[in-house]
């Protein structure tokens, strides 16, 4: 195979807010370049995880190679790196962007600039990428490209005179986008004659190939038979296969500086490949490439197996998943109620949900996640300072001098019609108003400082509902500030359940306590005996509910023709029981541990 000239390579990614049509545009590019035939085509082609398709979001970055014959008559190699849109996955995005020279900025022509568009654009600008604005969904009647162009210019500061008008759904603008990629995005630099330096930006285990490592070659080349070294571990391997996704995996003779692709070597475990590490030749002395900035988890929750015997399986699964998603952290935790499990840190609530779902699906586990918490700083009367990310570790109130909680600066973008309800929501969540700025006559930026603990609970859902889905938000961590916070315990039949404890603001304790026990009453099924649920601060009971005992559970009829069906009903009932955690005599469903999110 002929070596592909570097000046005809373009590496780019697509950045967009959730639902602005990124995956659909990727589908169109695959079709237009003939990478996928019409017969093979399916929606969200690049989203490999079932979870991604079901939820219509991208979680993991992807790289795919396309060949495009441009109007100048030359064939170009385009490497498309697909990235997630949600703020929780910005770690994935920054990894992907470091492998590109340019990015398509997709903005919904009716919705306009959203918070996450901005967050990802800033990431792209930090990486010195050439940005091509694309206004998508121009076929919609409510599309207003002129307004959205103004927004892009005023809010982001990008010129839009050459912005492309597109409808990924109907294939409008695809050709123009491909031409712009070729004309505007610079080809990669990097000397192909120098020793190999490649950046690892993802790796995973493949049952056929073993560990597959996704790389961007920065200098030199990589080819089968080559002996390579991973700089951080110093371990040496022999490359067995080099290839690209086109979009199905296919072998190539080599990958050269500027190209994106994968290799497999005799690497046994994913943990040997660290994302952000540099790959070089066995004997070469090279400077490692700048890796990725480490991300600190913001939200913490316990993950426990429903059946204690599954602890070892959970440990293995968490270790494996972490290698694919190092943006979450974990350490062992023991709960009096739930037994052995892990305290995990996440980028946000969506990230937490995705990690739990991936653990359950990809590893066949049955798990309980406890209510998310932020990290508190507690100064004790003896001058000691503690960091607490688990309510179970909350010290005796008598020993507490001051509690500090993290605050964030929230930037909320919204059409002006929803200012009222959004302000009310922020006030309810103990927010401090900083600024309300009209970006355009129609769109407003609202800036608030909020206790992060209030945001992790249900802020996003509430924001979406009060703005009918139009508002979007991004946030940065500010600092720790003192707050009047107390620990609220939940008692079930007089026994405190540590995994249900939450930290709340004193002013809201009564309200939250009442709501939480009411919600628990709803989700805990009736048992053979009475169940009493109480919320308490210290020894003071602040709310109480009673679940009356189950009185009747019987099938009136069962004759020959009914046996199979009636047995199936019982089996379903038993399946539900199996998914419940037995606390003493009381059986509690998984969702009870997250009930605090639903109030």
């Amino acid at each position: 195979m002929k070596i592909f000239p570097q000046e005809r390579i373009r590496n780019f990614s697509i950045i967009a807010h959730v639902d602005h049509g990124k995956s659909t545009l990727a589908d169109r590019l695959l079709e237009a370049t003939g990478a996928v035939s019409e017969r093979e085509m399916r929606d969200q082609f690049l989203d490999r995880l079932d979870l991604e398709r079901e939820r219509g979001i991208t979680i993991k970055a992807q790289a795919v190679r396309l060949y495009y014959k441009a109007q100048d008559g030359e064939v170009y190699q385009l490497n498309l790196i697909d990235t997630p849109g949600h703020v929780d996955f910005s770690y994935e995005v920054s990894r992907a962007l470091s492998a590109c020279e340019g990015a398509l900025l997709v903005v919904d022509a009716s919705q306009g600039v959203e918070a996450q568009t901005l967050a990802n654009v800033y990431l792209a600008l930090e990486n010195d990428l050439e940005i091509i604005p694309v206004l998508n969904k121009i076929d919609l009647p409510q599309a207003d490209p002129e307004r959205v162009k103004r927004e892009i210019e005023e809010i982001i500061g990008l010129p839009t005179d050459e912005a492309i008008l597109a409808s990924a759904k109907h294939g409008i603008g695809t050709k123009e986008i491909l031409e712009a990629i070729v004309k505007k995005i610079p080809p990669p630099q990097g000397d192909r004659k120098k020793p190999l330096r490649a950046l690892i930006f993802d790796s995973w285990y493949d049952p056929y190939l073993g560990v597959v490592v996704l790389i961007r070659v920065v200098e030199g080349k990589i080819y089968p038979g080559q002996r390579i070294r991973l700089v951080s571990t110093g371990k040496v391997y022999e490359v067995t296969k080099v290839g690209v996704f086109a979009p199905n995996p296919s072998s190539v003779d080599a990958l050269y500086a500027g190209e994106v692709g994968f290799f497999a070597a005799s690497i046994k475990e994913v943990r040997e490949t660290r994302i952000g590490d540099t790959v070089t030749e066995a004997e070469a002395e090279v400077e490692p490439l700048p890796g990725f900035r480490e991300v600190k988890p913001m939200v913490f929750a316990g993950i426990f197996p429903v059946v204690s015997d599954d602890y070892e399986d959970l440990r293995e699964a968490i270790e494996k998943l972490w290698l694919n998603d190092p943006a979450f952290s974990y350490e062992p935790e023991t709960s009096a109620a739930l037994g052995h499990g892990f305290r995990c840190g996440f980028q946000g609530l969506l990230h937490m949900e995705i990690v739990q779902e991936r653990l359950e699906r990809e590893f066949g586990l049955n798990l309980i996640t406890t209510a998310p918490s932020v990290k508190y700083r507690v100064e004790l009367t003896d001058g000691q300072e503690m960091e607490i990310e688990n309510p179970a570790q909350w010290p005796d109130p008598a020993r507490i001098k001051v509690v500090k909680e993290p605050y964030i600066r929230a930037e909320i973008y919204t059409p002006k019609d929803y200012i009222g309800p959004i302000l009310r929501l922020c006030e309810e969540k103990r927010g401090l108003q900083k600024e309300i700025r009209y970006l355009t006559p129609e769109r407003v930026l609202i800036i608030y400082e909020l206790p992060f603990a209030e945001v992790v609970l249900d802020f996003f859902d509430r924001l979406k509902s009060v703005s009918r889905g139009y508002a979007s938000m991004d946030y940065q961590l500010l600092e720790y500030r003192p707050g009047d916070l107390v620990k609220m315990d939940i008692l079930i039949n007089k026994q405190p359940v540590d995994a249900l404890s939450v930290i709340v603001h004193r002013d809201k304790a009564y309200y939250r306590g009442r709501e939480l026990v009411a919600k628990l009453k709803e989700v805990i099924p009736r048992q053979l005996f009475e169940v009493v649920i109480q919320a308490a601060i210290g020894s003071k009971i602040i709310a109480r509910e009673r679940i009356p005992p189950l009185r009747k559970d019987v099938l009136a009829k069962c004759y020959g023709g009914d046996v199979t069906r009636k047995k199936k009903l019982l089996e379903k009932q038993k399946e539900g029981k199996k998914r419940m955690k037995a606390l003493g005599q009381v059986e509690i469903p998984q969702e009870a541990f997250l009930a605090v999110l639903k109030i």
């Binding site: 053979l528 189950l550 009185r551 009747k552 559970d553 019987v554 099938l555 009136a556 009829k557 069962c558 004759y559 020959g560 023709g561 046996v563 199979t564 047995k567 019982l570 089996e571 009932q573 038993k574 029981k577």
Partner: protein
């Protein structure tokens, strides 16, 4: 081997709003149906390995009393040619409407010796709530006609817990029943089955069942009144005077073999469960092409059969015998389920007496909770 024979009669004048048994609201063409059923019996005959002796016959539905006595006469003749068919208990399910002394005498004459009358309620209010066609007067007439036609073994079907029913309604009904004094009673709690009009009405909030506590009180009231009147509560929903338990239905609850004919019927033979799809057109078509109309639904492993025998057996208030189970299946109930039983016995839902395990009265009302342990 002794076995039970069931015939499903998939015809009704009109569907009742709570019923999910298969039937079509058409007038039966007896000749065609008879031919099909006998053809089906022939096919079974060639498929069954062991020799079955049918000791009970049960015509259920649907409305079996829509078929004439001569239909059954010819059916019995045909079955007698194919099998060892000398049933000692022959039950006909019937609705009060359309019955009279003449036809009842004729049913009695062709061999039926047990009549199961679908009364459902003894009040006009109840009949209305359940959407039944017959009147109370017709119901009482049917009972006296049955007695006069020589039916000495009479069963009545009743439903409690219908929308609007109160405890007083039920008590009055029980008084009425004791005056009728049937040998056997099936007293079912109204169960909304998916796909029935009743289910839809409830889901839409247009009607409501009595409170759970009321329904539980009804259960207990029925148990107490009938027990005091000399009835034996022998199955979750069934009561009988001494010597009048329904022998046919015991085959189901004791997991003994039975053969079911007609669309919608089920069969259980040698740990295999068959089901004939509930579709008269498909049934006729299969038989006109000499095809086996039933499908094999499930083959139970010895352990599954054992578990199922426990789950079904616990419907009977006498419960199950560990010794009998061991003899039949080779598994020791007390050993295999020792952990489960330890927990269950503490709940008081179940009682162990010698080698028997049975539900307590509270256990009857919560029997699903018990059965979950044996699935």
């Amino acid at each position: 081997m002794e076995a039970a024979l069931y015939l499903h009669v998939p015809f009704c004048r009109q569907k009742c709003p709570y019923c999910d048994f298969y039937s079509v609201p058409t007038k039966p063409e007896e000749k065609i149906y008879l031919k099909a059923v006998l053809r089906e019996a022939e096919i079974w005959k060639s498929a069954i390995s062991g020799d079955l002796s049918f000791v009970t016959f049960y015509a259920g539905g649907g409305t079996p009393s829509l078929l004439s006595p001569s239909f059954y006469e010819k059916l019995f003749e045909g079955l007698g040619r194919l099998f060892d068919f000398r049933p000692e208990e022959l039950t006909l399910e019937a609705n009060p409407e359309g019955l009279n002394r003449g036809i009842l005498t004729a049913y009695r004459k062709v061999g039926f010796n047990r009549l199961s009358l679908g009364l459902q309620s003894l009040s006009e209010k109840g009949l209305r709530a359940l959407g039944r066609r017959h009147t109370l007067e017709k119901a009482f007439r049917a009972i006296s006609d049955a007695r006069e036609s020589g039916f000495e073994n009479l069963s009545v079907d009743l439903i409690f817990g219908w929308p609007g029913e109160t405890l007083e309604d039920l008590q009055r009904e029980l008084e009425g029943i004791l005056r009728i004094s049937p040998e056997h009673l099936s007293y079912y709690e109204l169960t909304p089955e998916k796909g029935t009009p009743l289910f839809e009405e409830l889901a839409a909030g247009r009607t409501r069942l009595p409170e759970e506590d009321t329904v539980v009180s009804m259960y207990l009231t029925i148990h107490e009144s009938l027990s005091a009147a000399g009835y034996h509560h022998y199955e979750i929903s069934n009561y009988a005077r001494p010597g009048h338990t329904c022998r046919h239905n015991l085959f189901y609850w004791k997991a003994l073999p039975y053969l079911g004919l007609g669309p919608g019927a089920a069969s259980f033979l040698e740990n295999k469960r068959y089901r004939t799809p509930p579709n008269l057109t498909l049934y006729y078509r299969a038989l006109s092409e000499d095809k086996f109309p039933a499908i094999l639904e499930e083959t139970l492993s010895p352990e599954e059969a054992f578990r199922e025998a426990i789950i079904l057996g616990l419907r009977l208030l006498e419960g199950v015998s560990a010794l009998e189970l061991y003899r039949r299946f080779g598994f020791d109930l007390f050993q295999i389920f020792s952990q489960e039983l330890e927990k269950l016995l503490k709940t008081g839902l179940i009682i162990k007496e010698g080698d028997r395990l049975r539900l307590s009265l509270r256990g009857v009302i919560l029997s699903n909770q018990v059965k979950l342990y044996f699935l």
